[in-house]
Symmetry: C2
């Protein structure tokens, strides 16, 4: 991504679907953007589809086709954001703030030649910088991009507007990327599950990434990755409490020496897939996971059992939303690796303890398993990295698990 | 427009907003298209926005901005068609008919650099012919185009999907352009106004053009112009009665020797503008009408009074929808031509008698004015061409005038 040299640093702001759900809210966002415009050198705003638009469009597609073709879904779903952008530009113009809306194509958001979860491969922000120089606020339709060669419309997956915003912030050398959403920041656990969860004033990219990866839906993981790679500071803020400081996501968080665990994340819509009786030879993992990756399916929490009689079982978790596709792929996958069969448990959840250095910190893991055992919550699989320990649990016990862990690490204390 | 050489002639079908108003209707259209696909070499389908989508979007825009910027309106309104196209492609795919949706941009619909009523300047149908060769039905989002240099989205004005369809039919050398709509063809008058109006099996381009220009909203005038220029036969048909023959619009209609008048058209949403006390010198008409044309405002029924004392009055009619823009332009227009003032009558209608040779046919005009006088309907202005005589009448008498004229020319008879 090319970055313009010199000049004042623009600000990128992203407003999510709840923030632009009605015309009244779009007016409110316009007022907030107009204020930011007065304070900053230039403002680029990235918007999501209004409210439940994307779900409504997806529902229409599914009523017409049991498995809507991905290419057509992208063309359809992208319209949600294409509606919001000109509406916000009009609301800004009505306030006397010159503005112009741009589609992903016009904004130079170029993606890989895939649909539904396309990765941004380049940002060509010339049109944006031209418009900023003309003194206009630039409103970009989030979530969408284009395959440069073919002019095909692509979308970036759920939460893709975050990705658009951070990618633009990186390409424009923005001073900050404000992610306005319907929550007041990143919390030590989901406040809907844990009543005394507290807001984190600051968090590191890696910690945020792990939280996002395991269900803290505040920020899209891909957005955090791009922010980390380009050192773009992200501020997660509430549209409805604009004076709040929110949570700043940055490279070097202030260290809290006495508390390594930062938060408890959970993800309820998971499924566990087990490929049973796989011949245990080198390259077998690649043979299983390459076709899934090619189909754009994210896999997490991979566990391979110790083999016996030359056979092994490989388990992994996937998003419940991918189950349809998984069911399509499993037969040929089982045949390709010479496995006996594949089983699916569609009713699991993941619960994670997140914080830099948790795995190396004595007692963090032990306290986690003790807390779950005390609640008689069965653990299915365990995976751990330097900054995250994740356990799968039965879906109907997920919220109990989150509350128990939040208490166990005393996260309600400041 | 480049036309491909050789090969079977494809068919172009256009389905209007009522025809695709619901998912059930989209499914029905898909079935009809799939049937056409079996009969024809290739099928290109042009779709409008679903039902009242365009009006809904326009309403949202107006609630955010008293005069929404035209560029932003185009970006917003174009989404209506961009939703229908992939939905129909999915419905076709669900029936086992491979299909691909294309935006105006992807379909190569290039327009002049104007908004709201952009003219198509070129069609580059390479992508369409490629997809037809791959055996796919191509579903094109109507009403929208792109300014090639800047990638700006444009729209073609109300009824613009007709224009898309005919322009594509011309560029592709299509055998016929089927315009599927919610009426059963072109009638001798609006059947909602005249109970015994009859369907015309065939009509000439020029007659259709005059009917369209004065309110028979069955076909967009620009679409008829393009069809005439490229000799594309248009068949106006009912989506809900697909076995009906509808009305064929062609270059050489079957002559009906004893009846020159083909139909009565009317347009209720008109306004009359009079520029008063214009210095009567050469070029004054251009000085008045050039700025209106530049603003994309269509003017009809121009009447210039005989001047006295070197001054003259110039009257013309415009669509009521253009009144806001007219009010903006009038002060500078009056100043520029050195006129005294401009007046606007916002409550008029136009009533027209249409048929090849009407003006040259003895008695046609006389019978028109006698019929209106018998009903005590005041005539404001009169303009006539070889194939149309138009009178302005008070809006609240327009329907009486249509019924009186339909009777006067005995159009209820076959």
């Amino acid at each position: 991504m090319t970055q313009p040299q010199g000049g004042e640093r623009p600000v990128v702001q992203k407003y999510g679907g709840t923030s632009v759900a009605t015309l009244a809210r779009i007016r409110r966002v316009a007022a907030s953007v107009a204020e930011a415009r007065r304070a900053a050198g230039g403002v680029v705003v990235v918007v999501s589809a209004m409210g439940a638009t994307t779900d409504r469009l997806l529902g229409q597609a599914r009523r017409l086709h049991p498995r809507p073709p991905a290419r057509e879904l992208d063309a359809l779903l992208a319209t949600g954001e294409t509606v919001t952008a000109p509406l916000l530009a009009m609301a800004l113009d009505a306030l006397g703030t010159p503005a112009v809306s741009l589609s992903g194509l016009q904004a130079g958001i170029r993606t890989a030649p895939h649909h539904r979860r396309a990765r941004i491969v380049d940002v060509v922000p010339q049109r944006i910088t031209d418009e900023l120089e003309r003194g206009r606020v630039v409103v970009v339709a989030g979530f969408q991009g284009v395959i440069a060669d073919t002019l095909e419309t692509t979308t970036l997956g759920r939460g893709g507007s975050d990705t658009t915003a951070v990618a633009l912030a990186a390409a424009l050398g923005a001073g900050v990327c404000d992610i306005f959403t319907d929550v007041r920041g990143v919390y030590s656990a989901d406040p809907r599950v844990v009543a005394d969860a507290r807001r984190l004033p600051e968090i590191g990219y890696d910690e945020m990434l792990e939280l996002a990866a395991v269900g803290a839906a505040v920020l899209h993981p891909r957005a955090v990755e791009i922010a980390a790679a380009h050192a773009v500071p992200i501020r997660v803020r509430s549209t409805f409490h604009p004076r709040d400081q929110g949570t700043l996501v940055v490279r070097e968080p202030t260290v809290e020496p006495r508390q390594k665990v930062r938060g408890i994340a959970h993800q309820e819509d998971c499924a566990k897939v087990t490929v049973v009786g796989v011949p245990d030879r080198p390259g077998i993992a690649a043979a299983i996971f390459s076709p899934l990756a090619a189909a754009g399916i994210s896999v997490d929490a991979i566990v391979q059992n110790v083999g016996h009689a030359g056979l092994t079982d490989v388990s992994f978790t996937v998003a419940a939303a991918d189950l349809d596709q998984i069911h399509d792929l499993l037969p040929q996958l089982v045949a390709a690796v010479g496995a006996a069969e594949a089983t699916v448990d569609a009713a699991i959840a993941k619960v994670s303890v997140v914080g830099t250095g948790v795995l190396g910190s004595p007692g963090v893991a032990a306290r986690m398993f003790r807390a779950l055992a005390d609640q008689r919550i069965n653990i299915g699989m365990i995976v751990a990295s330097e900054i995250r320990i994740t356990a799968t649990v039965p879906r109907d016990r997920a919220q109990d698990a989150v509350r128990a862990l939040h208490r166990a690490y005393e996260l309600e204390r400041l």
